[in-house]
């Protein structure tokens, strides 16, 4: 019996860990959606870029991979700003389907650009703490997973302080609440668009580093499904609501890992979409979504 509880605890902790990756993706998507009302389906490609940046610099420098967060986040912020300026700004307000279509083009460009450099084989890397575990009661937790949960929490707290306390953060929130009003108050909303897109991409880059550090395998095509799940999460949690993204991310992480445990690994991806379809059947605007935009 004791063993059973230990296994369930282990599965729950895996859920918490994979939830962290989803939370970072979903929070970024949600910020971008809040300000620009745009859905970037190529968001997972930022995650993928994050894993490869971490992998590349880990191999050539041998630094502690957690330190590489300070590299992957800024690079991805830059990439996000460039993508916003070149691809999303010209189509802003031209129709909701265009942004989905332009993301498809970006997905092809990023995936195969990386595949050209690194080939498309599956890769993985080993964290320096890979063999360390910490025992809590009957459960043995890998140290890496604990660090990842803590780092995610730090990033989220940092983000919320930034949004609540700084002038720029307040300007982002204002643009998200009322674009026209923000414009009238002298906020350069287009700059906020760029910045928000950059922050969203940076969060995805952080998720990418954490993904690589945890020893999960990755290849250039790995990003699409986590990103679309991230979008499923913000539909579940309500478009534009950050606490909703956190709760939704944790819920999907848990549900996935328990389903994989009970039904077999092949159901891991399908279950989050089954959940999404069931929720949308009952509430077409999502669990906490509002009736309007």
């Amino acid at each position: 019996m004791d063993g059973g509880i230990a296994v369930l605890g282990q599965v729950a902790f895996w859920g918490l860990y994979s939830g962290c990756i989803y939370i970072l993706l979903a929070t970024g998507l949600n910020l971008i959606f809040g300000v620009m009302k745009v859905v970037n389906f190529a968001h997972g490609e930022f995650l993928m870029l994050g894993t490869y940046i971490t992998f590349f610099f880990f191999v050539i420098s041998g630094f502690n991979p957690y330190l590489l967060l300070f590299l992957s986040i800024p690079i991805l912020i830059g990439a996000g700003i460039i993508v916003e300026r070149l691809c999303f700004r010209p189509i802003l307000g031209t129709g909701k389907l265009n942004e989905i279509f332009i993301s498809l083009g970006l997905i092809y460009i990023f995936q195969n650009g990386v595949a050209m450099v690194f080939t498309d084989e599956w890769r993985s890397m080993k964290s320096p703490f890979a063999d360390l575990t910490i025992g809590i009661g009957p459960i043995q937790l890998p140290l890496d997973y604990i660090i990842i949960v803590v780092i995610t929490a730090i990033i989220l707290v940092g983000l919320s302080v930034f949004l609540d306390r700084t002038t720029t953060g307040k300007a982002i929130r204002a643009s998200s609440q009322n674009r026209k009003g923000a414009m009238l108050m002298g906020i350069n909303v287009e700059r906020m668009d760029m910045l928000t897109f950059g922050i969203g991409a940076g969060l995805a880059g952080a998720a990418g580093t954490l993904w690589a550090v945890s020893g999960q395998v990755f290849n250039p095509y790995m990003g699409s499904v986590p990103a679309i799940k991230g979008f499923a999460i913000i539909i579940l949690g309500g478009l534009g609501s950050i606490p909703g993204a956190i709760i939704g991310g944790l819920a999907i992480g848990m549900v996935e890992n328990f389903t994989a445990f009970f039904l077999g690994g092949s159901w891991k991806d399908a279950i989050s979409f089954i959940l999404l379809i069931v929720v949308l059947l009952v509430r077409p605007t999502g669990l906490f979504g509002e009736a309007g935009e």
Binding site: V39, F41, C87, P90, I91, T94, K96, L97, N98, I100, F101, I102, L104, G105, L106, I107, Y108, I109, Q111, N112, G113, A115, M116, D120, S224, V225, I228, F231, A232, I235, G264, S266, W267, D269, A270, S272, F273, I274, L276, I277, L280, L281, P284, G286
Partner: protein, 321 residues
């Protein structure tokens, strides 16, 4: 309708393309590679036209491979297990696909763009999971199973015959869509697409029309799926892949969204570009080129290649002044 109306440049162009398409196998001769490219091109014209038909009703799908695959599996299972001829099971596959399509449509009619995109994408993932796990005893799981070809390979020049069979079906599908869009149904779909609330006010109930568009799109996609499987002679769950959901979107946007000719032109141009780049040895590079092309077209030519002559005309006219 008098002759002057029939002889518009558009119709003449269509007739020329039709005659060229009929004569192509003779021009290509015995080059099996080119014939295969042409057959696949026709199958994808059918498939992207089906995807594009859905957009006429203001709906969109990111997971149309689900219907391609459902049609393919239903048709090939009926052929292998029941011994029915492929031409009959093609229709059965289409009907099965349409049935599931309407069920999905019922959940989707109330949803907005992104939500619809998510549900259709998720549905393709769910179906693929079912096929490789719980349904594996019937479907052969990831390994798939072999099926006969649409025209038995024992007949000499079977690929040419196959070309004409697929060509006939493609023409029938396009004519069907053409007639539908000119009918009252087409008008109702346009009204719903432009403004659903106003369409309701005009006395159009959007639900049956949206379901009809979903069902017909799934039916034709299912037929395209069956054709693809009977062309390759083998089916695997890869038919539900994300790539196969994205191709019809890329073809339709490149050619011109919401036009009948768009998916046809888009499929031809992108397929030729694709295979041409492959010959040049650009395995990954061609994806990047297609991606860049897609982004450029959305930003600078939002109505696709179909509108290119018109846009060029505009530019020239402006310069003339």
């Amino acid at each position: 309708m008098n002759l002057a109306q029939v002889r518009t440049p558009k119709n003449l162009l269509a007739a020329a393309i039709l005659i060229l398409a009929l004569a192509l196998p003779f021009l290509v001769g015995q080059n099996l590679y080119l014939l295969t490219v042409l057959v696949l091109m026709l199958i994808f014209i059918i498939y992207s036209s089906a995807w594009n038909f859905l957009t006429f009703s203001g709906q969109g799908s990111l997971g149309h491979a689900a219907f391609l695959g459902l049609g393919g599996y239903a048709a090939s299972l009926a052929t292998v297990r029941l011994g029915l001829p492929p031409l009959l099971t093609l229709v059965l596959g289409g009907l099965f696909s349409a049935f599931i399509g309407i069920l999905i449509g019922i959940t989707c009619v109330r949803l907005r763009e992104w939500f619809l995109a998510m549900v259709t994408f998720g549905f393709a993932v769910i179906i693929q999971t079912l096929v490789v796990s719980q349904l594996a005893p019937v479907t052969g799981g990831w390994d798939g199973f072999a099926v006969q070809k649409i025209v038995p390979t024992t007949i000499p020049g079977y690929l040419v015959l196959e070309y004409y069979v697929v060509f006939l079906i493609a023409v029938l599908v396009l004519v069907l869509f053409y007639l539908l869009l000119r009918s009252r149904i087409g008008l109702a779909l346009a009204a719903i697409r432009e403004n659903e609330t106003e369409a309701r006010a005009a006395g159009i109930n959007p639900v049956p029309f949206k379901l009809f568009a979903f069902g017909l799109s799934a039916f034709v996609s299912g037929i395209a799926g069956g054709l693809e499987i009977f062309h390759f002679g083998y089916i695997t769950p890869e038919i539900f892949g994300i790539d196969l959901s994205f191709w019809p979107i890329i073809y339709s946007i490149t050619g011109g969204l919401g036009t009948l000719a768009g998916p046809v032109i888009g499929t031809i141009v992108v397929t030729l570009l694709w295979d041409g780049l492959n010959v040049l040895g650009l395995t990954y590079g061609r994806f990047i080129i297609i991606g860049v092309l897609l982004v450029l077209i959305i930003i600078f030519l939002p109505r696709g290649l179909v509108s290119l002559p018109e846009e060029i005309g505009k530019k020239w006219g402006r310069k003339g002044k």
